[in-house]
């Protein structure tokens, strides 16, 4: 088994995210069990694992959409309970499997996050974000008329509008067809490089995990059973159903 630190791309980089013995139990079922992980600045960590392993449950804890039963989370070394939930959620931006766009125009959706803090994005700022996700001039469109790939890219731009330092991605491309998936992947790589974003990416798609990750974790039955799975090991293990 490889050493965790061995293949970390930037061992001297500070941890952006740290969890200690994180656990979530609902009605006797343990969804997340004793998860202790560290993610450093600039890493793109993918989490793979069978359906029901607790991957989404883990991400929801990190965004504080759910409450852990026990354990700790640190964001930039700061106990996340000491950060107001709204600020925390902006710093650890989350993108879900479905876009969940709000009814209205693309612009309305992009403005949503900043507006919650009383900031109004300028037209130029919105256009800039839209250009990033390849949707120049889409601002006035009604979200009901977007394709799945377009909607997911709007959701990405909407999350980026909050200028997060950590991006939590929960299978953001699993509802998309191959070409839309490739588009979103390419965009994400560019944006992560551009902004030096740290990223925790849950995916079912092994090939995607290999393409995108600087490090791959394996989750099974609520536990992170590997914090640094080599690409050979992925193929050796038939972990994904």
């Amino acid at each position: 088994m490889p050493e965790i630190t061995e293949s970390r791309p930037q061992t001297d980089a500070p941890p952006v995210l740290e969890t200690r013995h994180l656990r979530r139990e609902v009605g006797g079922a343990v969804l997340v069990d004793d998860v202790t992980i560290t993610v450093t600045q600039g890493e793109v960590v993918t989490i793979v694992g069978p359906s029901g392993a607790g991957k989404s449950s883990l991400l929801r804890l990190l965004n504080r959409l759910d409450e852990p039963s026990s354990g700790e989370i640190f964001l930039d070394g700061q106990d996340y309970r000491s950060i107001p939930p709204q600020a925390l959620r902006r710093r650890a931006g989350m993108l879900m499997q479905l876009a969940y766009l709000f009814p209205g125009t693309v612009n309305d959706n992009i403005r949503f996050g900043p507006r919650q803090q009383g900031k109004d994005l300028t037209a130029a700022e919105i256009e800039d974000l839209l250009a990033r996700v390849g949707l120049s001039n889409f601002g006035g469109r009604d979200v009901a008329k977007l394709s799945g790939g377009e909607a997911q890219r709007v959701a990405l731009a909407r999350t980026l509008a909050n200028d997060p330092e950590l991006l939590l991605l929960d299978e953001p491309t699993s509802a998309l067809d191959e070409s839309a998936k490739a588009e979103v992947e390419t965009l994400l790589v560019e944006i992560m490089h551009e902004r030096g974003l740290t990223c925790l990416w849950v995916t079912h798609d092994l090939a995607q995990a290999e393409r995108m990750a600087t490090r791959i974790m394996l989750m099974e039955k609520g536990k992170i059973v590997h914090t640094d799975l080599s690409k050979e090991e992925i193929h050796a293990q038939s972990v994904l159903s």
């Binding site: 989404s56 959409l65 409450e67 939930p85 709204q86 959620r89 931006g93 879900m96 709000f102 919650q116």
Partner: protein
């Protein structure tokens, strides 16, 4: 026709009640043959309605000349029962009884007091209690509707609410569209009955006044006043209960805790 056989008002009333009941039973029989089995419910509802209305009649008879305070006490009791009924509809929602009670009391209370003080509602108990109870009953149905709709809206928008929270929205902001939808939906029946007033139906108060021999114009104006009051009270009760509930479906750490229905997570 009945008054040819019954001359004192009480036995006439009883005879009328029997005829009305027989007609309801005929409908029940027809339903039975159409294999819509409502016998039990219909019988229970009829019996309940009969007993309740008789009880109220007797109580009114007893307190006919009592002080105004008694009227307000009775209305207070009605509000408690109304809140209990409304919260039964809102089962599974946190603090449903307290929320319903606050909505109904803060909605109906001030309006009844104000109207009584301005003399729009007579403080004679024979007026105060029936008109007041109508107002309380309407705030009750509106509160039920608002809470029920609010729960429905939430359970079909769990993903959107989580998405809004994840973007740094406050809980209030995250559910605002659904709170508004609930209030709007709960007021639709009120708006409909306001706009069809007199055309589709001539409701209780006016009917009562006409039966009692009032001038049609007086009865009509008074009915309008009552309907407008009912709308005011319903609007207040709905706004208050929906907005109180919208704060209670979140945990202190601003997580959506009311997760019923399909979008469980």
């Amino acid at each position: 026709m009945l008054n040819q056989f019954f001359h004192d008002p009480l036995s006439l009333g009883v005879a009328q009640a029997i005829v009305a009941t027989v007609m309801a039973l005929v409908v029940m029989l027809i339903a039975h043959f159409a294999r819509i089995h409502l016998e039990r419910e219909i019988l229970i509802a009829l019996a309940r309605a009969f007993v309740q209305v008789l009880a109220v009649g007797s109580v009114l008879l007893l307190i006919f000349e009592g002080p105004v305070v008694v009227g307000f006490l009775i209305l207070g009791l009605m509000m408690l029962l109304a809140a209990q009924t409304a919260s039964r509809r809102a089962q599974g929602m946190p603090q449903a009884f307290r929320v319903s009670l606050t909505g109904i009391v803060l909605g109906a209370g001030p309006v009844i007091v104000l109207m009584a003080w301005m003399g729009v509602i007579d403080t004679k108990l024979t007026v105060l209690i029936p008109v007041g109870s109508m107002i309380v009953a309407n705030s009750m149905t509106t509160t039920s509707l608002a809470l029920d709709r609010f729960r429905g809206e939430i359970s079909s928008h769990v993903g959107h609410i989580d998405a809004a929270l994840a973007l740094g929205a406050t809980p209030k902001a995250a559910v605002a569209p659904y709170t508004r939808a609930a209030v709007r939906a709960s007021l639709i029946p009120r708006i409909d009955s306001l706009s069809s007033l007199g055309i589709v139906w001539i409701p209780g108060v006016m009917t009562g006044m006409l039966l009692a021999g009032s001038q049609p114009i007086d009865a009509a104006l008074y009915q309008f006043v009552v309907m407008a009051m009912i709308f005011t009270v319903s609007g207040l009760a709905s706004l208050i209960s929906a907005s109180l509930m919208s704060a209670r479906v979140f945990s202190p750490a601003e997580q959506l805790v009311l997760r019923t229905g399909k979008g469980k997570r």
